[in-house]
Amino acid sequence: MISGARLHEAVEFAIKQAGSFPNTEAEAFAISSRRLTIRSVKGAIESLELSEDAGVGIRALSGTAFGHSYTTDLSETGISEAFAQAAANSHESDPDRFNGLAESKPWQPLKDILDQELNSVDTEVKISRLLEMEELASSKHQAIVGSEAALYGDSENHVAICNSRGVKAAYQTNSCYAYLSLLARQGQETQMGTGFAASRTLSDLAFTDVATEAAEAAVGLLGGTRIESGRYPVVLAAPVAAEFVGVLASATSAEAIYKGRSMLTDKLGQRIGATSLTIYDDGRLPQALGSVPVDHEGTPTTATTVVDNGIFSSMLSDTRSALRLGLPSTGNGFRASYSSALSVAPTNFYIVPGTLKPQDILDASDGALYIQDVQGFHSGVNPVTGEFSVGAQGWVIEDGRKSRPFREITIAGDILKLFHDVEVIGSDLRFMPMSGNLGSPTIKISGLIVSGE
């Protein structure tokens, strides 16, 4: 793969090009990635994929207008051509007095974002861990008939950022994950249960938990029926709660708020959740997969208290949205890839856990619905209005147990109302790497509307 040193040369060469254009500053962001994905099916390897990628994204700032370009050609010719495009594009876009580049600030590297061992572990070892996981899951119950997907993946990234105002930053990071989607059958009925884990090191990757989680869900959901429409108290499994947290995270973007396309527009300083609800975005959280020393503009990452005991206390920002607010950037300017434009995005964005164990919550939730899985999240949630309506599967809680399975129902409501109605926050904080590393414990909501029979 393209080395960090090579990326560094590329971004430095890119910003030097600014000198050839009048009144022009520049920023270059380069990323080089190597990804391994192994899939197995019924105890044998289905596929082994290795991919390597490297590219540079350039922003030329002419006066106060930005132009963007990108290329996978890291040669001097490739980069200077891309730069000329970015400069040309800046002349066709509109100036904005808040457009600017990050100022150079000292930044501290993070020690635990790279596991030296992961890259040196033999692929054979990773294959056997995956096959063992699939086998373990299949042996958990006689109703389990196989897997729809069993995956192990890992990736390694080098990132380098440079700009005309002296920002110069680079880091290297890696991570691995395991995913299992398991099938259980009873008569004509098939149900699917999924399990997922991600970590920095292979030894921390909880293959056994993934197998257990998938098996319990697949078998436990067998025999599910619809339930009556009505208003029900609801317990959201931590991964489901994390999806809702993700919608809130995108709404805390200062850019989205300013542009009126956030449900939190005009709500800064106001109560938006239960008093027990505190949410952090912490780009430097130890052991967490969303941690990076600097964002993609080269601004050092920080810890931000976004929701403080129910009060919306701070937005997340990049350089431009921060300039507009007259505040320092929170270090949340990220690009999805070298070819994507920069936008405000969360790092490790999570609900601070409470003290109750998940079982304690179940014990106190007779008659509530335990939501194991939601469907149609991307189409069923409106991040601007906060309205949501999604498909759901899970169990009715009886005697402290996930008792009667249900399926083919929807849960609907309003996201801010949901966070207002948080009754209990569990102790079992769990992160799900989505767009940002989103974290939540199991949470109980006093009521949501169910549409069923």
Binding site: E52, S69, T72, E148, Q191, E408, I409
Partner: protein, 459 residues
């Protein structure tokens, strides 16, 4: 893109340790994207990404390596990496392409335009949206075009090359009136160059999006429970796509995770329903001349008069099930393995009009615009979102209702299709599966489903 001798050399390296098949997929994609918000052109982003994926098949396993390069030296090393799944003597003879074999569709002439022409068009859409009403709070306009060159070559001697353009304009509007906030979205797209805008007027696209948001400001909570649903022309394809399309993808059938497994020749839909997947329709968003394994595109009738006829196949799933490839082996990019995917999937036009359908409903929902959806293929439960909906009361369109998800089961819902409209209208979208997103069309005539569960909040 890559010359024949180099491709032969690469495939021979790929085959050298006992693969039964090897293929190479190369692409080069140049794109321009423009974003306007707050009356300003904020982003103009241009660039090119090129790369190659090399796959080898040995026994039941696939080895795959991709690299963002078209250079011989790097492809050789990728071919060696892809061989990691096998280690046995060579079984395939050397590959040799014949100059005259292969698919090279006629170059379609597409129009190009300057950045300035493109930004003009984006400004036009943006201002048309803002001008619609004082309650408009934001207009976001996105313009994307791309030109893509592809090459697929394999160890059986198949060679296919193409170049095509795609253009899309999306407008998202936020409208606010006191505490009420609503959104409207419209996003036409076609496999065309700048000539796309001879048929599509950016002003009209913006007005549609703005009016949708404004209309929804008056919306009340959507109902809960089962009722008849009329899906407007163009949008109902999401229903077919989710309720049944994914379940017909042969990889899921092979893994026994589809409720449509073992159902060929049986009744899975009402006799009103003939379902088609057709990537050969000129310029539709999900069209192609050959799939990403070089199999020529063809029209496939999946369901005929309610009877299930065939599954959607890639080369590999066809081999495993003893079926013919259907030309549906698709991939998001050179970084991905091909898997069975839909293209332009729709229910064939029927005989009813939307007015007749609405008139036949006593109390139900009229879904004028839909968002995306999702399916659990193992149990058949699927959902899709309504972004513009109205109550139907006594055969007439009534008050607007807020966005709600509709939920149903694939084995039941197509049996409940009571009427199919006369006119086929296409809507572009993207479909996600196994972490890969590909362009698809969910075009469809209007349909009437006799009962579906509406996931609103009004009890």
């Amino acid at each position: 893109m890559i010359n024949i001798e180099v491709v032969e050399g690469i495939l021979n390296i790929a085959l050298a340790q006992g693969a039964r098949f090897a293929d190479l997929y190369a692409e080069s994609k140049s794109s321009t994207s423009i974003v306007a918000e707050n009356h300003e052109i904020e982003i103009i982003n241009t660039g090119t990404v090129s790369g190659t994926g090399i796959r080898i098949l040995a026994g039941e396993a696939a080895g795959f390596a991709s690299i963002d390069s078209l250079e011989a030296r790097e492809l050789k090393s990728a071919a060696e990496t892809a061989r990691a799944v096998v280690n046995s003597p060579a079984i395939q003879k050397a590959v040799c392409f014949q100059e005259n074999r292969g698919i090279r569709p006629d170059r379609r002439t597409t129009e190009s335009a300057s950045i300035n022409q493109k930004t003009d068009l984006v400004r036009k859409a943006s201002e048309a949206g803002w001008a619609r009403d004082r309650r408009i709070r934001q207009v976001s306009v996105g313009y994307v075009d791309q030109t893509k060159k592809v090459l697929v070559a394999d160890s059986k001697g198949n060679w296919a090359e193409d170049e095509f353009s795609a253009t899309r304009l999306t407008v998202s509007v936020v409208a606010a009136d006191g505490p009420a906030v609503q959104t409207g979205h419209e996003g036409p797209g076609r496999l065309q160059g700048f000539e796309f805008f001879k048929q599509i007027d950016p002003t009209e696209v913006a007005i549609l999006a703005a009016d949708r948001a404004l209309k929804m400001l008056e919306a009340k909570a959507a109902p809960t429970g089962e009722m008849p649903v009329v899906l407007e022309e163009g949008y109902g394809g999401v229903l077919l796509h989710e309720a049944c399309g994914h379940g017909l993808e042969a990889d899921l059938v092979i893994k026994e995770s589809s409720v449509f497994g073992d159902r060929i020749g049986t009744k899975v839909a009402s006799s009103e329903v003939t379902a088609i997947d057709d990537p050969t329709i000129e310029s539709w968003w999900g069209s192609y001349s050959f799939d990403d394994e070089g199999v020529p595109a063809r029209r496939n009738v999946l369901i005929e008069d309610g009877i299930l006829c065939k599954y959607i196949q890639s080369r590999e799933t066809a081999r495993k099930t003893g079926a013919e490839p259907t030309g549906n082996g698709r991939r998001q990019s050179f970084r991905h393995l091909p898997i069975p995917r839909m293209s332009n999937t729709f229910i064939a036009p029927g005989k009813s009009s939307v007015d007749e359908m609405i008139a036949s409903v006593k109390r139900g929902l009229y879904a004028k615009a839909l968002g995306g959806g999702q399916v659990n293929t193992a149990n058949g439960d699927f959902v899709f979102g309504v972004s513009e909906g109205y109550m139907i009361e006594n055969g007439k369109i009534g008050r607007p209702v807020k966005g709600a998800t509709l939920i149903g089961n694939g084995l039941q819902v197509l049996l409940d299709v009571a009427a199919v409209g006369v006119r086929l209208v296409a809507k572009p979208g993207f479909c996600g599966k196994d972490g890969q997103s590909v362009p698809v069309t969910t075009g469809q005539p209007a349909i009437l489903v006799s009962r579906m569960t509406v996931g609103g909040t009004a009890l």
